[in-house]
Amino acid sequence: MNEPATAIEAAVAASPLHQLKDELDIVIPTIRNLDFLEMWRPFLQPYHLIIVQDGDPSKTIKVPNGFDYELYNRNDIKRILGPKASCISFKDSACRCFGYMVSKKKYIFTIDDDCFVAKDPSGKAINALEQHIKNLLSPSTPFFFNTLYDPFAEGADFVRGYPFSLREGVSTAVSHGLWLNIPDYDAPTQLVKPLERNTRFVDAVLTIPKGTLFPMCGMNLAFDRQLIGPAMYFGLMGEGQPIGRYDDMWAGWCIKVICDHLGLGVKTGLPYIYHSKASNPFVNLRKEYKGIYWQEDIIPFFQQVVLPKDCTTVQKCYIELAKQVKEKLGKIDPYFDKLADAMVTWIQAWDGLNPTSASFSNGKTG
C-alpha cells in the first residue's frame, strides 16, 4: 500500500466492463507529459481524454499511444472562447475546467498528472474510475447521517433509526476521492510535517451532510456534468492573480451550496489514488497565503448563503452566487469583484458551448 501499483498489477485488476465508456470524459490538465497514463492504461484506455495544456502553447505534449483524446492549449482556448477566455486561468491547473466546459459527455473524471494507481490493503490495484462511477450511479443520503457510511455499499445498509422515507436518497452529483502517500496539505502543514505520508486506507464512502462545507480537492474527482457541471468553475488563479491553490476549494464551496439547494448529493471517501509528487511548500505558501486569511471570511460567507427558491437551475444558482460574492466579498479585496465577473463570464461561455443545457432544470429546490 506504500507504493503505487505497477502497470501489470493494474492490468490484473482491470475488468472487461468499462462502464459509461461513451458517457464519460477524463479531463487532465498538464504542462509536461502524460507518462503517468501508462500506469492507468488498463483502467482508462477505453475512455476519451480531454487534455488541457497549460503554459507554453508551442510545447508539444506527448500522449501515450492508444489513447483517444482531444487536446486544447491556450491558443485553442482563446480561439474557442474569444474574449470570454479571460475566465480561464493561465499557469495554474485551474485551467482544467475548460475541459469540463468543452466536453459533450454526461460524466467527468478529472485527475492530476502526478497521481498513480493505488493499492488496497490486500495489495490489489484500485480502479479509481470504477469506484467513482459506482459512487455517482448510486444515491446519496445528505439529509440524515448513516453511521455505517454508504448504505448502498456491498455488505452495508441503513442503520436502526434511519427513516424509511429518506432511504431512497437523492442523485449524486459529485464523487470526491482521496489520496495515499502525499496528502493534500496546505503549505504551513507541509512545512511543519514534510515527511508525513497518508498510509491509512479508510474503507468507506460517505455522503457529506446537507449544510456542511468541505475542502474539495481536484486531484481525484468525478462529477455528473449534467447535474452540476456549470458550477464546477475553478476560479481565477495563476498568472496575473493574487492567489493560487484555491481553485478546487472555490469550486467545492460553490458546488456544495448549490447541491444543498437543489437536493443533490456529494460523496467523499473511496477511491484512493497514489499521489506521488509533493509540491514545493515555499512556492505553495506564496500562492496560498492570501487564501489562508481570506478563507476566514469566505467560509462564513458560504455557510450563510441563501439561494432564492426561484433558482431552480445550476446556472441560475451560480449567477445568484456570483452576485452575492460581489456584494459581500467584494469589500475584502477587488479580486472578488473580478472573480464574481469571471463567474458570470464562465456561465455565459458554458451556455454558449452547451446550448441545450441552458434550459436544463432538474426541477428541485432545496
Binding site: 455499499a153 441503513f158 482521496l178 468507506a204 474539495m216
Partner: protein
C-alpha cells in the same frame, strides 16, 4: 493536544438484560479490570445475576433503584433503559457504556480492539463539527487538517459524545435484518470522524461513551415503545435520546464523534419475530426525524438541563397531539431533569 484522563475518572456502565454475565465479563476482563464498573440489572429480569469475581464494581438491582428513585419512577429503567440509572448514580466524569452482548472485535491487522481506550481518545481530543475534514479525524496519528480547512476552526471544540460501531451483527432495524438475514458487517472502517453540526444521525446506545459532566442529563430514558422488548430491534429509546444529545451538543457548541471503536456483536434474537411484534418504532421515526431537524433552542438555554427542558417543551407542543407516546416522552424528559438535579447531586449507597 489531548487531555489526559485518569482511570478513576471513568465509570463503565453495563445494563444487564441477561443474567449470566460470565462470558461477557471474562472476555472484557483485560480491559475492564482497571476501571470501576456499574452494573444495572434490568428490573424485569427475574434470575440472579452471575458475575465473575475480581472486578471493582457496584451492582444495582430493582430494590436499589426503588430506593433511590421510588417504586413508581423505577419503571422508567426497565429493559435497555436500565443503564440510564447507572448514568444517573455515577459520580465520574466519563462514562463508557455497552450492551451485554458485545465482545472484543479485531481490527484489520487482527489485533483486539481496546474499545475503552479508543473511546477515551475520542473524548479527549477535539471534535471539528463546523467544517468537514476529508481525511477524517485530524487529531489521529498520521493525519491532519487538509488544504482549505480554515485555521480558525482547527482548535476544534470539546467532544461530548463518542459513538462506536459494531462488527458482525450491525445495529439494523428489524425490517432490514429480516430482509437480509445472513448479512453481517465485516467492513472495518479505520476512521473516526466528527458528525457535522446540525446533522442528525441515529445514535445507537450499543457502544457509546460520553462526558457525563458536560452532557450527562441529555442521555435519558423517555421514548418507550408500546411493544418495547428485550432486543435492540424492539427499542428506539437510544435513538430518541441520541437526537436530544445531538441537538443539545449542536446548540452548546460541543462535538459528537462517530466511527471506531468497533465491538463484536453476537447474534441474538430473531428479526422476523421482532418485526411481527414491533414496528411502531420504525413508523415513529418518520415523525421524529423531521421534528428534531426543525428544533431550534433559544439563546437562554445555556446548560444541558436547559436544552433538555426546552426540547421537552417543544415535543409536548408539536408532537404531543400526534401520538400519546410523545406526550409521555415529553413528561419523562421533564421528570428526568428533576431527577438528575436531585439524585445527581446526592450520594447513593451502592447495592451488593
Amino acid at each position: 493536544m489531548s487531555l489526559s484522563i485518569k482511570d478513576h475518572e471513568i465509570d463503565i456502565v453495563i445494563g444487564a438484560l441477561r443474567s449470566d454475565l460470565t462470558s461477557f465479563m471474562s472476555e472484557w476482563r483485560p480491559i475492564f479490570s482497571r476501571f470501576h464498573l456499574i452494573i444495572v440489572k434490568d428490573p424485569d429480569l427475574k434470575e440472579e445475576l452471575k458475575i465473575p469475581e475480581g472486578f471493582n464494581l457496584d451492582v444495582y438491582k430493582k430494590p436499589d433503584i426503588d430506593c433511590v428513585v421510588g417504586t413508581s419512577t423505577s419503571t422508567i429503567f426497565s429493559g435497555y433503559s436500565c443503564r440510564y440509572f447507572g448514568y444517573l448514580v455515577s459520580r465520574k466524569k466519563y462514562i463508557i457504556s455497552m450492551d451485554d452482548d458485545c465482545y472484543l472485535a479485531k481490527d484489520n491487522k487482527g489485533i483486539l480492539v481496546d474499545a475503552v481506550a479508543q473511546h477515551i481518545t475520542k473524548l479527549t481530543t477535539p471534535a471539528t463539527p463546523f467544517f468537514f475534514n476529508t481525511l477524517y479525524d485530524p487529531f489521529t496519528e498520521g493525519a491532519d487538517f487538509v488544504r482549505g480547512y480554515p485555521f480558525s476552526l482547527r482548535s476544534g471544540v470539546q467532544c461530548a459524545l463518542s459513538c462506536g460501531l459494531w462488527l458482525n451483527l450491525a445495529d439494523y432495524d428489524a425490517p432490514t435484518q429480516a430482509l437480509k438475514p445472513e448479512e453481517r458487517n465485516s467492513r472495518y472502517v479505520d476512521a473516526v470522524l466528527t458528525v457535522p453540526a446540525r446533522s442528525l444521525m441515529p445514535i445507537s446506545g450499543i457502544n457509546i461513551a460520553f462526558n457525563r459532566e458536560v452532557i450527562g442529563p441529555a442521555l435519558l430514558p423517555s421514548l418507550r415503545l408500546g411493544g418495547e422488548g428485550k432486543f435492540r430491534w424492539e427499542t428506539m429509546e437510544d435513538i430518541w435520546s441520541g437526537m436530544c444529545v445531538k441537538v443539545a451538543c449542536d446548540h452548546l457548541g460541543l462535538g459528537v464523534k462517530t466511527g471506531m471503536p468497533y465491538v463484536w456483536r453476537n447474534d441474538r434474537g430473531d428479526a422476523i419475530a421482532s418485526l411481527r411484534k414491533e414496528w411502531e418504532g420504525v413508523k415513529l421515526m418518520e415523525e421524529v426525524v423531521p421534528f428534531f431537524q426543525s428544533v431550534r433552542l433559544p439563546r437562554e438555554a445555556t446548560t444541558t438541563e436547559d436544552c433538555v427542558a426546552e426540547v421537552a417543551n417543544v415535543v409536548k407542543e408539536q408532537l404531543g397531539s400526534k401520538d400519546p407516546i410523545f406526550a409521555r416522552a415529553a413528561k419523562a424528559m421533564v421528570d428526568w431533569v428533576m431527577l438528575w438535579k436531585s439524585v445527581g447531586s446526592s450520594t447513593s449507597s451502592p447495592g451488593a
